[in-house]
């Protein structure tokens, strides 16, 4: 589904990603973790072409992301993305947030889009918030709306960029629950997160990144019981003892 091959990315002189290769198969849930500044967010933003890269290839659903012939908007429409800071459109209601791209990208009629949006808002537990503005919602609710916004496009895969890092502790679970449900339904997911409990429950594989490299790419069980690298072991001790 997603194939990353020999990816290099730098900002000016600073090398952010080097020689990253990984694969996410259909229906798989892959968790990406690692210390901050290790390049996780950059990696996930390369996948739908939000961040350009200078070397290597990424293919999504058989389509190359960096090829100039690729219709990037069409490709992005098939990949849902959820951001750390929600990025809901503040000038629109929850419903309008979810309907916008359906109307302007999928060319659904407003009525059709709104009906679909309502269903999905109900599914993430926010059926009664359709007319609320983002500023009237809690962080957890906003992040659930933003998941709904991505789901409304009927994506083939979902990317999550630290979806719970900006949330107060008591709101983290309501978002993780929605994500867990998605995973159980068989959604292909790539999730950058520090929530190791979530990884333990639903991940198929774990990618561990450090200083721009994918240091480990292992099945979940092995990562938590016997990580191969010293750096991953240290990271796990730090995260799990907190």
């Amino acid at each position: 589904m997603i194939v990353i091959d020999d990816l290099h990315k730098s900002y000016g002189h600073q090398q952010i990603l080097r020689a990253c290769s990984a694969t996410v198969n259909l229906g798989e849930v892959v968790v990406v973790c690692g210390p901050s500044g290790s390049g996780k967010s950059t990696l996930i933003k390369c996948i739908n072409g939000l961040v350009p890269f200078e070397r290597g290839t990424i293919t999504v659903d058989g389509v190359s992301v960096s090829s100039p012939k690729t219709d990037l908007p069409a490709l992005r429409a098939r990949i849902g993305m959820v951001f750390q800071s929600f990025e809901l459109y503040p000038h629109m209601t929850a419903l309008q947030n979810v309907s916008l791209a359906q109307i302007h990208v999928l060319k659904r009629s407003r009525a059709e889009a709104d009906a679909r949006s309502e269903k999905i808002l109900a599914r993430v537990g926010l059926g009664d918030k359709r007319d609320s503005r983002p500023s009237q919602l809690s962080g957890g609710q906003q992040q659930r709306v933003s998941i709904a916004r991505a789901l409304a496009m009927d994506p083939r895969a979902m990317l999550f960029d630290e979806p719970t890092s900006a949330l107060d502790p008591e709101m983290i679970n309501e978002v993780l629950e929605v994500m867990q449900e998605l995973a159980l339904e068989g959604m292909t997911m790539m999730v950058v997160t520090h929530e190791m409990g979530f990884a333990q429950r639903v991940a198929d594989r774990v990618l561990f990144m450090d200083r721009g490299q994918i240091v480990e790419d292992t099945p979940k069980a092995q990562f938590f019981t016997a990580p191969a690298s010293e750096r991953a072991r240290q990271f796990l001790t730090n995260v799990l003892t907190h």
């Binding site: 933003k45 908007p73 849902g80 951001f83 800071s85 990025e87 503040p90 791209a101 990208v105």
Partner: protein, 218 residues
């Protein structure tokens, strides 16, 4: 104070009103034209293509460094030359105003657009919207709200600027008043009136802009 003749204001009111109408026309044309052109310039300045951004920012810098009086003279001289026949000073003044104020509106629009969080455009792009759609549906509505007080302030400045057409002998409000002042030797009355009228209109608009700004969510 018994020497003053405030009746002069009533007697010349029709003439002054005509002047005010011209001032209003200048403000309207400069603002509408300046905003449209300024919007285009702002998009050019924000572009990642240097062949778009460099000419636009050069234009803005030059216009912002020149006094409007000089720009008015330039156009007063250039427009007839370019067209090949004499045109009224109104045409060249209108052109000068649009091209001059566009530089200032450009900076307002640019600030408005770049103050919208970068993540907003990422979020729109990630759902498959095209750049133009992201700009129109997500960025501009947010930018416009933040820009409104600044646009109102700029309109106040444009209104004050219109008084400069005095130098090309167009009868705006100030010039009309100065004509009466020197014809009837009533400078004190006329300029006092002009000052009060400008003060009321400009202060009112400024306060409205402040009020609007305070009502905005930060």
């Amino acid at each position: 104070m018994s020497d003053f003749d405030w009746g002069i204001i009533a007697r010349s009111s029709a003439f002054l009103a005509e002047g005010m109408a011209l001032s209003a026309l200048l403000v309207l044309v400069a603002t509408v034209g300046g905003l449209i052109l300024g919007f285009g310039l702002a998009l050019m300045r924000l572009s990642s293509h240097r062949w778009l951004s460099v000419p636009a920012s050069t234009y803005v810098t030059v216009m912002r460094t020149l006094p409007l009086v000089l720009v008015l003279f330039w156009f007063y001289f250039l427009v007839p030359l370019a067209i090949g026949r004499p045109v009224g000073s109104l045409t060249s003044a209108l052109l000068a105003f649009v091209l001059f104020e566009a530089a200032f509106y450009c900076e307002i629009v640019r600030a408005g657009i770049s103050n919208v969080r970068h993540g907003q455009s990422d979020a729109g792009l990630a759902t498959g919207l095209r750049r133009a759609q992201v700009l129109r549906l997500i960025i501009l509505p947010q930018a416009l709200r933040a820009m409104m007080p600044l646009i109102l302030n700029q309109i106040v400045i444009v209104f004050q600027d219109t008084s400069l057409v005095y130098v090309v002998s167009l009868h705006d409000f100030l010039t009309a008043a100065s004509v009466v002042a020197s014809r009837d030797g009533r400078a004190t009355e006329m300029y006092a009136l002009v000052a009060v009228v400008y003060l009321v209109i400009c202060l009112g608009t400024t306060k409205a802009a402040e009020f609007y700004r305070k009502g905005l969510p930060s």
